[in-house]
Amino acid sequence: MKPDGKVVLLGDMNVGKTSLLHRYMERRFQDTISTVGGAFYLKQWGPYNISIWDTAGREQFHGLGSMYCRGAAAVILTYDVNNLQSLIELEDRFLALTDTASTDCIFAIVGNKVDLTNEYALLLETEEENRPEKPVTGCISTKVQKQVHLDDAVALYKKILKYKMLDEKDVPAAEKMCFETSAKTGYKVDYLFETIFDMVVPIILRQQAEGPLQTVEITNYKSAKRTKSGCCA
């Protein structure tokens, strides 16, 4: 069964892509091991089957990014709010991988692991409706000063629009597409995925109206290395 639309998680290793997806899909947080290659998930969203690709952030698998991104309707660029480098990597290493995405692809920028910051308690108070499943018990003093602020993510979002030569008026607003989450506590994880899926549906409809765009792309795609060299040389 061919999925109807594709959502791809990109970002440096260890930022929590796999954890976010498991929090959403399996409703729990558990120890993960660094992803190899990519992992494919199917999510039923209304009448649609949305495919989600969780990719490996490791440099070793970097070359595969564009393959996983091909025809994507949405790309979730993930960083760790306590690691500025992980945000920088998004621009330096990962943005170019999205060149193969669908032209009307939407972008989300997600800062994960907010539970580790000293702002977290404050966030919880101000946003009653986004209470995590489990209240956090850790004391504030063990928390760290957040390294990356939402403003930085917004700035990156605007850079992406420039890179893609998109007009701010034609795409969702930066404030709407920059998220801060915690896979550990579940904070805003559902909100993130559901917002994205809702936005993907119109793209799916457009893609379906234009015919099976992705499948055509996939079968026509000629990889330089697409030889029998994978087998006996």
Binding site: M1, K2, M13, N14, T18, H22, M25, E26, T32, I33, S34, T35, V36, G37, G38, A39, F40, Y41, L42, D54, A56, G57, R58, E59, Q60, F61, L64, M67, I218, T219, Y221, S223, K225, R226, K228, S229, G230, C231, C232, A233
Partner: protein, 555 residues
């Protein structure tokens, strides 16, 4: 044996008791390691007072009162030698003072506990840059690794290669592969050869992620490249491999363990995999809890090469070291270094049950074939559900293998059995079987001790200078017997009170039991896909009549 003697191992087994009086409780050194069956017979039926070479080479004849209690056999030269050899290092080997920290990476490399580790493994580049350390942070060890590299290159400068250094209670073994240097610092009793083999496993696991060409190319371009950039995140895979190597006899024996299953069910599953194919799919492997259920290979591939146990071990380790979630389907490039160190396969990995015990691995040569391959999995899964075999597989895994109790002989504690009578023209995955570890071998410490013993016996059997065919070894807490013939390689572990006669008796029963169970314990007729019959192999693509064939029959 292609000669068609179904009961070959058995036949020898039954010969034994009659000769037990003459079975000298010492190493029976074979002068000709490639002894044919006839010689085999001879070796297995030594004359009561005939000359039998002993392991340490002392004396030509070894006279041993045939009725002597084996528990007392420390009086033989052989066991004396063994006991002393085992006494000291074993004590060192099992101690891990203070208990290891939760994550090995954070370990303090200046602490005594770090030094006391059973076995360290380091990987460095030719330029002396640290790449991996089993315990402790490689960064903190960069000066240590620098010294190692200095050693390697100093000796290299004299046109020699450093192979090993022996100290009081440690062995240092060096392996250089291309631009990588691997070092093992071990307090175990493993032979240099075995440690070298382990380092090669580490090297191959690195290749399985990066391939040989790319490593070579990287270092050609930049001699002091920091390979950790590419291996970051893979430390757990190597950590896990090193733990497995010490606990899974498959690595030692170079063989794969199969999940015990009724042959009919295994056949059905093989047929299923044979049907669920798509272009460029070359291997389909069904695994349950790291044990092979069945593997199917494209016919064109099998003609040239075969799936090596090493490659399967590395693949399964990589899978085991990745997060297991049923919902996700993994698609990743992977190299099977023994098959081809320079090429990538695309591996599709998916768990078929919620507990993630049953795993389907499909290897394709086409990077773009994810959806087609995923569809193969869907077909396999559906068919397995309809047949009820999925439930059988995941349900049957409550006890993943079998207990030694099934053999029905009380003195037998554990064994490793690897059939060797695989006909030349039927290329077949080497396999082995062994029961679960139980009884006295439940703790990690005791498991290490037992595997140390197995390693020791294995090194004696496979010694390059003096290979042995039969070793009787009385250890501190158990008695072991290792025996290699042209038809099998067998390591058995008995309770310490077993008598020699008792041990022989047990062997006979064990071989009889294995013979009876071989259909269940091993894949005897590995299937392959492609509809064209296989010319010249006489099997006509079908399953040959099992009864008339040897232990392993045609593909």
């Amino acid at each position: 044996m292609a000669t068609g003697e179904p009961g070959s191992p058995m036949r020898e087994g039954t010969v034994l008791p009659k000769e037990q009086a003459g079975l000298c409780p010492t190493d029976t050194g074979g002068d000709e390691p490639s002894a044919g069956p006839e010689e085999q017979e001879e070796l297995l039926a030594p004359q009561s007072n005939g000359p039998v070479r002993v392991a340490d080479g002392q004396g030509d004849a070894q006279e041993e009162p045939s009725d002597k209690e084996l528990s007392d056999s420390a009086s033989t030269d052989n066991t004396l030698e063994d006991s002393s050899e085992f006494g000291r290092p074993l004590g060192v080997g099992v101690c891990e003072p203070g208990g290891p920290p939760t994550t090995h990476r954070d370990e303090d490399v200046t602490a005594a506990s770090w030094r006391a580790r059973r076995k360290h493994v380091f990987v460095l580049s030719e330029a002396g840059k640290p790449i991996y350390s089993r315990y402790g942070n490689e960064e903190a060890l960069s000066s240590t690794m620098g010294v190692m590299m200095a050693l390697v290159s100093f000796i290299q400068s004299g046109d020699n290669a450093i192979r090993s250094i022996y100290s009081d209670d440690q062995k240092l073994v060096f392996v250089q592969q291309g631009p990588l240097v691997l070092v093992s610092v071990s307090r175990t009793l493993q032979s240099e050869q075995q440690l070298r083999q382990e380092l090669l496993y580490v090297y191959y696991q690195i290749l399985s992620m990066l391939t040989q060409v790319s490593i070579t190319r990287i270092f050609e371009r930049k001699k002091n490249y920091d390979l950790r950039r590419l291996l970051a995140g893979s430390e757990k895979i190597l950590d896990r491999l090193l733990n497995l190597v010490e606990s899974d006899p498959g690595f030692l024996l170079g063989a794969v363990r199969c999940l015990p299953l009724p042959a009919s069910l295994r056949d059905t599953l093989g047929t299923l995999l044979q049907k669920a194919i798509t272009p460029n799919l070359v291997f389909s492997i069904l695994v349950a809890r790291s044990q092979l259920v069945t593997a199917v290979q494209e016919r064109a591939v099998i003609e040239e090469c075969r799936l090596e146990p090493t490659d399967l071990h590395l693949l399964l380790n990589l899978i085991g070291a990745s997060s297991a979630f049923q919902a996700g389907e993994i698609w990743t490039p992977i190299c099977l270094p023994r098959f081809n160190p320079d090429g990538y396969f695309y591996a599709y990995i998916s768990y078929l049950d919620a507990e993630c015990t049953v795993c389907l691995v499909l290897l394709s040569t086409d990077k773009e074939s994810f959806y087609a391959v995923s569809d193969c999995k869907r077909r396999v899964e559906e068919a397995m559900r309809t047949q009820g075999s999925l439930q059988v597989l995941s349900g049957g895994l409550q006890s993943p293998s079998y207990g030694v109790g099934q053999v029905g002989v009380p003195d037998l504690r554990h064994f490793l059995y690897k059939p060797l009578d695989i006909p030349e023209n039927y290329r077949q995955l080497p396999q082995f079987t062994s029961p679960e570890l139980e009884g006295p071998y439940c703790s990690e410490e005791e498991q290490h001790r037992l595997f140390d013993l197995y390693h020791y016996l294995h090194s004696r059997i496979h010694s390059t200078s003096r290979p042995l065919r039969l070793i009787y070894h009385v250890a501190e807490k158990e008695t072991l017997l290792a025996w290699v013939t042209s038809k099998f390689e067998l390591y058995t572990c008995f309770s310490p009170l077993v008598t020699k006669a008792g041990a022989i008796n047990v062997l006979t029963k064990l071989l009889r039991w294995i013979k009876k169970e071989e259909d269940r314990l091993f894949i005897r007729y590995p299937p392959k896909y492609s509809t064209t019959p296989n010319p010249g192999k006489g099997t006509k693509g079908g399953r040959p009549d099992g009864a008339e064939n040897g232990f392993f029959a045609g593909l």
